[in-house]
């Protein structure tokens, strides 16, 4: 009996022709997919970063206020002047404190979501974490200013609870205290932690979710207490996620110039320094040098994390 069904099916149109082309030349599709983002990353993103780096090696003529296009390290030396160096210390210190605060608050939430939440509760978790991201950052920051102000709900609540002495004692702390929460470093810290918390929770939750249940059981089975399992198994395996989250919270805090301007003492952070220097002062080289600091700090931070073995489990 003859079988007249075709061995090769007919080409139906351009879709089949393209699929065939990509099948014969697998690299073509890859190139087409990667070219636009690589162009963007290479030219627009890394290019502007290189321009920034270049600017930081120029200096400003103090007399004329014009940029001198000659290689010099003078601008970087400027950073070491006490008034400028204070800005660096303040910003890096705040970024570290915010990261630590976010990590401590995020861990139980992420752990619950990764290990226990199912179905509806998981949806509620994602919604709860993402919801604050849907409203404007400025609105949230101003809302916090009202919450933390002297006439705000925090003062009212501590008064009502008869704990105003506690609040006053906290505000009386040197350096981090102040007139009210909204004009102290504590206030700045609270708002930073609030605003960046989702960026810590989500990668942490993803990392914790990848730790198989059987591994925790194996640890307990071999005699480990809950604390030992946390320290020896969960944390090392979740560390890439914690590091990923901390990169967000750390670098976002390093670069932010709005929160410290609205909430906190009037002392400058790196972002504000860059903002003023490139604007009114017109000192682009020093602004660029300030902007290089977060990049350098992040590189050092990542190198340390790598040395600690944060990426071994990847």
């Amino acid at each position: 009996m003859m079988d007249f069904r075709p061995v090769t099916l007919p080409v139906r149109g351009p879709g089949d022709r393209l699929t065939a082309l990509f099948w014969r030349r697998p690299n073509l599709l890859l190139v087409l997919l990667l070219a636009p983002p690589l162009l963007w990353l290479g030219v627009v993103y890394l290019g502007s970063l290189a321009a920034l780096l270049l600017q930081s090696f120029y200096s400003i003529d103090e007399f004329s206020g014009l940029v001198v296009h000659e290689f010099t390290l003078k601008t970087y030396l400027e950073l070491l002047r006490p008034s400028n160096f204070d800005i660096l210390l303040r910003t890096v210190g705040m970024a570290a404190a915010v990261t630590l605060g976010c990590a401590v608050i995020a861990f139980p939430i992420a752990y619950y979501a990764a290990r226990y939440a199912r179905g509806r509760w998981k949806a509620a978790f994602y919604l709860g974490v993402m919801l604050p991201l849907w409203s404007s950052y400025l609105v949230k920051v101003y809302a916090w200013k009202l919450i933390l102000s002297k006439e705000g709900i925090v003062t009212w609540a501590t008064d009502a609870a008869g704990a105003s002495a506690v609040l006053n004692a906290v505000l009386a702390l040197p350096v981090i205290g102040g007139n009210s929460l909204s004009t102290s470093y504590i206030g700045t810290w609270i708002v930073f932690v609030y605003v960046w918390l989702p960026y810590m929770i989500l990668p942490m939750q993803a990392a914790l979710e990848r730790v198989p249940q059987s591994m925790l059981e194996a640890s307990a089975d071999l005699g480990a207490t809950r604390a030992q399992t946390l320290r020896r198994v969960i944390l090392p395996l979740a560390l890439p996620g914690v590091i990923a989250g901390s990169i967000f919270t750390f670098s976002l805090t390093l670069g932010d110039y709005i929160i410290p301007q609205i909430i906190g003492s009037s002392r400058l952070f790196i972002g504000q320094a860059v903002y003023t220097l490139q604007g009114t002062a017109g000192n682009i080289p020093l602004a660029a040098a300030f902007a290089v600091v977060p990049i350098a700090v992040m590189l050092v931070y990542l190198a340390l994390a790598k040395r600690m073995g944060a990426f071994d489990a990847l």
Binding site: E217, A218, A220, L222, G223, R232, L237, D312
Partner: protein, 330 residues
């Protein structure tokens, strides 16, 4: 002598699901005990009840006579080889094996020596510095075994430990596990869905079905004298004969079982049992011939080299009446 593990009316219900339902079991010290059953039959839950990862909803579990209800997993002197091995990917093989002693505060040098000793026991000398990701499935299985044995547990629990290995390796590991158990004298409790594995390794087998123990006995008893239709069918795919057919063959009006290897092909004329061949399955060492018999489908194992009937042929069956096993189940 106290039993290593004793279940007294143990149940574990998950909502409406009765994963384990009124199980009574006694596992003798120093035995190699298999829990056999299809997936969802409750065997793994029973194992997890011994290790403490599940709590019974009813009944009592005693380990060497001690009621274990209030003892958390980390305080039970019982260790587990997990189905997926659950090796810690961020630690090398030595640290994996030394994990138990480490959390118990054994000094570094001592626990490293213990780990090496265990690795040599499972024939992995010199693998201490490798990461689990660099090992083959069989090697990982050995590491998991070494890690569980380093604590010198009173009972070793194995959750389908050979399931992920290929056939050749599985057979080699079966012999090794058996030899290791003899040498160490530790009670092994072994969960498997593979009846061949259970029969070849265990001293005693418990067959699970729907959260209950259908039968406990030596491999010979479970295979040769199944108590229920389920056991007869699950352990070695025996022919299950309904009461009417049993009676026709000279037995009482009860369900009975007749092994495929106990049946022989014979001439259709004058045979007590006859039927039409519906399918032939070649198995290498023999051929399984399926016959549409009176009131039941019957399988006959014809050894290689013997003449085979064609599909559709009418054949008779002969057997030694002593091989007809009448079951307890009515």
């Amino acid at each position: 002598m106290t039993d290593a593990v004793e279940f007294v009316g143990v149940s574990r219900h998950f909502g409406p699901v009765r994963a384990v339902d009124g199980v009574d079991l006694a596992i003798a010290e120093g035995s190699f005990f298999a829990m056999l059953g299809p997936s969802g039959s409750g065997k793994t839950t029973c194992l997890r009840l011994i290790s403490g990862f599940e709590k019974p909803t009813g009944g009592q579990i005693r380990i060497f006579g001690e009621e274990s209800g209030r003892v958390p997993p980390n305080l039970r002197n019982v260790n587990t080889v997990f189905q997926d091995y659950a090796l810690f990917p961020h630690m090398n093989v030595r640290d994996n094996v030394a994990y138990g002693p480490m959390v118990k505060g054994v000094p570094r040098a001592v626990r490293a020596a213990r780990a090496e000793e265990m690795l040599s026991l499972v024939k992995l000398d010199g693998y201490g510095d490798r990461k689990p990701g660099q090992l083959s499935g069989g090697q990982r299985q050995r590491v998991a075994l070494a890690r569980a044995l380093v604590n010198e547990p009173r009972v070793l629990l194995l959750d389908e430990p050979l399931g992920a290995l290929d056939l050749k390796l599985r057979e080699a590991m079966q012999d090794e596990l058996k030899a290791l158990q003899k040498r160490l004298g530790i009670t092994f409790v072994f969960v498997t869905h593979d009846q061949g594995e259970a029969l070849s390794m265990a001293d005693r087998v418990a067959v699970f079905s729907d959260g209950k123990v259908a039968q406990v006995g030596t491999p010979e008893e479970v295979y040769g004298k199944p108590r229920t239709r389920f056991v007869a069918d699950f352990v070695g795919s025996s022919n299950v004969l309904p009461p009417a057919l049993t009676q026709r063959l000279g037995g009482p009006a009860r369900w009975s079982s007749l092994r495929p290897e106990s049946l022989r092909l014979a001439a259709a004329e004058g045979a007590a049992l006859a039927g039409t061949v519906t399918a032939l399955r070649y198995l290498g060492a023999g051929t399984r011939v399926v016959i549409d018999g009176p009131g039941a489908e019957l399988a006959v194992l014809v050894p290689a080299g013997q003449a085979l009937p064609a599909a559709g042929a009418r054949v008779g069956l002969a057997f030694d009446p002593a091989m007809l096993h009448v079951m307890d189940e009515a």
